[in-house]
């Protein structure tokens, strides 16, 4: 558990950057490149959400919020609406992850 928080704090910015790059590919019409990154982003997101639930004081609403958008992303993937996939990651998922990162920073300050 002690190692989870530092790992999360180290990894989250990389995931957020990866989401940005993936959205860029989808918005530019480079679907092949975007889909490659999507696989990695999904794996990363799954790890982040598992790791986050292992941290004391985690906020369930943040996870539920992300889950809600994942459902929309699955629908968008089914109909290959890559612009919507890009938008949901860029403006919703990335936002939620950034808030989690901020919360972890505040938790750090409190403990120190």
């Amino acid at each position: 558990m002690d190692s989870l928080l530092p790992s999360l704090k180290q990894y989250l910015p990389k995931l957020i950057e990866g989401i940005g790059a993936m959205s860029e590919h989808f918005h530019s019409g480079q679907y092949g490149e975007g889909e490659k990154l999507l696989v990695q982003v999904n794996e990363g997101l799954e790890w982040v959400m598992k790791a986050y639930t292992g941290i004391p004081g985690f906020e369930i609403e943040k996870i539920q919020g992300i889950n809600a958008f994942l459902g929309e992303i699955v629908n968008a993937l089914t109909v290959k609406d890559y612009v919507l996939i890009a938008d949901l990651f860029e403006y919703e998922i990335k936002q939620a992850l950034s808030e989690i990162l901020v919360d972890m920073g505040r938790a750090d300050l409190k403990n120190n």
Partner: protein, 627 residues
């Protein structure tokens, strides 16, 4: 006044053709399967929503269209001189693109949906979206669009072209976008093939033309063959590798169909002891003679284009019929001079194309293709026994970029080349037109990549179903020959060439003067301190000289006929340079340079023709007069 009407007035002011096209379209209901409406993205910007099969899509990002637009622009090659954008939507991406490209870049925007276009012009002010760099097309007609795009391309011939599909349009118009690209690329291919062939063969065609005209006596007139084979089937034999499969069946056809063969097919038929009724010969290159090596031409009549390599027409002993192509101004001038009727066909770069035109001109129906692979079936270049036998493997190894892998009519991989694809497309277009005129076509090649608009059938089935009656074909050929054979006094032919020579010398003198004056004008325009007083008299003199040449009927009919294609290329290049010119002096400089280049072309062709007359023409005339 509503925004829609404002925008329509704006369109009418800047592009009446676009206005006429869209005013009818935008009132139509369109495809009811798609519900199109304007909505607001989360950041308040206008977006377009499309509901199809219960699913809702947005043309732009429904969070931030501007950011999406800027990201899309980064994926476009902005160095291209011409950018073709598929999809307009609300225009954010076109606006973003305009900010990122050079002021000389041209952007063609294609919006296939009139309803989406109406949504745009009901929501945003058009005059604030675009500038003069944008050419807008609202149409879903792929043929119309590819032609229009080509017209824009011609004015920027030297520039790179970038095709940029806006992502949302791949979903609804993916196939349409692909077909426009393909059609556009096809047009460029055909143009490239035509230009390179003409440049290569220009002088040779003039030589062949002159010498063949000297030997015109004893040749028949193709005009007397027109319509003489109405509703008689015709089999056009080409030398593709698949001919090996079914060549032996041609023996059973005899006089049940007119057999036309061209190029290397002659040697293959000869090997199989099959005599076509006509062999068709058109190639001006000396290598065309190889086709005649070791072939028994007895009882085979020849239809030839007057640009055929001259040593063939001179020695061909069987019946031969002269045919002109539309661009053959030299022969047409000769025919006019001697009041001769003539038949003409559209200039084609392949024997297959000419054979098709001839079969239609003769009235044949149905028309069957055999050996028309347009591909390297079984990795072979020709059927066995063709002249110019080469190894495909050697060609592929030495020049792999020349070959394109494609599916044949059976779905198997095969190789083809750019010229074959151009032939397939141009033959397909012609066949479509002829079908409307009542002709029918069958491709009995049994291999290759097929011919557009032409059904495939095995040759044995074609013979069973369509080739069941006998016709007196040799008699028809004999009668046609006798009714149209040429017989012109050789002294009159000699006088004709003297007339050509006199006029050529006069044109050459004027072109020389034009060259000198344009050279001086160029110096004046290029000088650091431009002096209008020096330039003006030169410009007037140049205009006068040009005018006198262009008013000269001989110049227009004869010289321009020889160099027209080259002049057109120079005009297109000048056009694109004029677009880039930044001031009036530069504009005049480009124009003067274009006239100077044209005068060089005219001097070169006049020198060639003078030399031809003084040597080869006089030699053959004297030979025929028995001197």
């Amino acid at each position: 006044m509503s925004l829609l009407n404002d925008n329509l007035s704006y369109i009418r002011k800047i592009d009446t053709e676009l206005y006429d096209r869209i005013t009818g379209q935008i009132e139509k209901r369109g495809n009811p399967e798609y519900e199109i409406s304007v909505c607001a993205a989360r950041n308040g910007e206008a977006n377009i929503s499309i509901i199809h099969a219960g699913n809702r899509f947005f043309v732009h990002s429904n969070y931030n269209p501007q950011v999406e637009a800027e990201r899309w622009v980064r994926s476009v090659n902005r160095e291209a001189g011409l950018i073709i954008v598929f999809g307009l939507g609300m225009g954010y991406h076109v606006q973003a693109l305009l900010k990122q490209v050079d002021k000389k870049t041209r952007i063609c925007v294609i919006e296939p949906s009139a309803r989406i276009f109406k949504a745009l012009i009901s929501s945003r002010k058009l005059s604030e979206l675009f500038d003069e760099r944008v050419v807008l097309f609202v149409s879903d007609d792929a043929d119309y669009l590819s032609t229009q795009l080509f017209n824009v391309f011609r004015s920027s011939l030297m520039e790179k072209v970038e095709f940029a599909e806006y992502p949302a349009y791949s979903r609804f118009y993916g196939e349409f976008c692909k077909s426009i690209q393909q059609k556009f690329t096809e047009i460029i291919r055909i143009l490239l093939v035509n230009i390179s062939t003409i440049e290569h063969f220009k002088h040779l065609w003039i030589l062949n033309n002159f010498i063949n005209l000297i030997h015109i006596n004893g040749a028949g007139n193709c005009k007397s063959l027109e319509g003489r084979f109405k509703n008689i089937p015709c089999v056009i034999v080409s030398a593709g590798p698949s001919l090996d499969k079914n060549v032996k069946l041609l023996n059973s056809i005899k006089n049940k169909a007119l057999i036309l063969a061209g190029g290397s097919a002659i040697g293959i038929l000869n090997r199989n002891r099959i005599k076509p009724h006509f062999m068709v010969a058109m190639d001006g290159a000396p290598e065309e003679k190889d086709i005649f090596e070791g072939v028994d031409f007895s009882e085979i009549s020849m239809i030839y284009l007057n640009r055929l390599y001259y040593q063939i027409v001179e020695v061909y002993k069987e019946k031969k019929f002269m045919l002109l192509d539309n661009d053959d101004v030299l022969s047409k001038l000769f025919c006019r001079e001697f009041s001769l009727d003539y038949s003409e066909v559209s200039p084609e770069q392949t024997v297959a194309g000419i054979n098709l035109a001839i079969a239609v001109m003769l009235g044949c129906n149905p028309i069957v293709f055999v050996g028309q692979d347009l591909a390297y079936t079984n990795l072979e270049m020709h059927a066995a026994g063709a002249a110019h036998m080469k190894s495909f493997e050697d060609e592929l190894a030495s020049n792999p970029k020349k070959f394109i892998m494609i599916k044949d009519i059976y779905g198997n991989d095969t190789y083809t080349i750019r010229q074959f694809l151009a032939t397939r497309a141009s033959m397909g277009n012609k066949i479509k037109k002829y079908i409307d005129e009542g002709f029918s076509f069958i491709n009995a090649t049994e291999g290759g990549i097929g011919i557009d608009n032409c059904d495939n059938m095995d040759l044995k089935d074609v013979i069973e179903i369509y080739l069941t009656n006998m016709y007196n074909i040799p008699e028809i050929i004999e009668e046609s020959y006798q009714s149209g054979v040429f017989n012109i006094d050789i002294n009159k032919i000699e006088q004709y060439f003297e007339y050509i020579y006199k006029n050529i010398c006069s044109i050459r003198d004027r072109a020389e003067e034009l060259h000198l004056k344009t050279g001086k004008a160029e110096e004046v325009l290029e000088a650091k301190n431009f002096v209008a007083k020096k330039y003006r008299p030169l410009a007037e003199s140049i205009n006068e000289l040009q005018g006198s040449m262009e008013n000269d009927r001989f110049y227009r009919d004869f010289i321009m006929g020889c160099i027209e294609q080259t002049v057109n290329i120079h005009k297109v290049i000048m056009g694109s340079k004029l677009d880039k010119a930044e001031n009036l002096i530069q504009i005049d400089l480009e124009k003067v340079r274009a006239i100077k280049n044209q005068s060089i072309e005219i001097i070169a062709i006049c020198d060639f023709i003078k030399d031809l007359k003084e040597n080869a023409v006089n030699f053959y005339l004297n030979k025929l007069k028995g001197m």
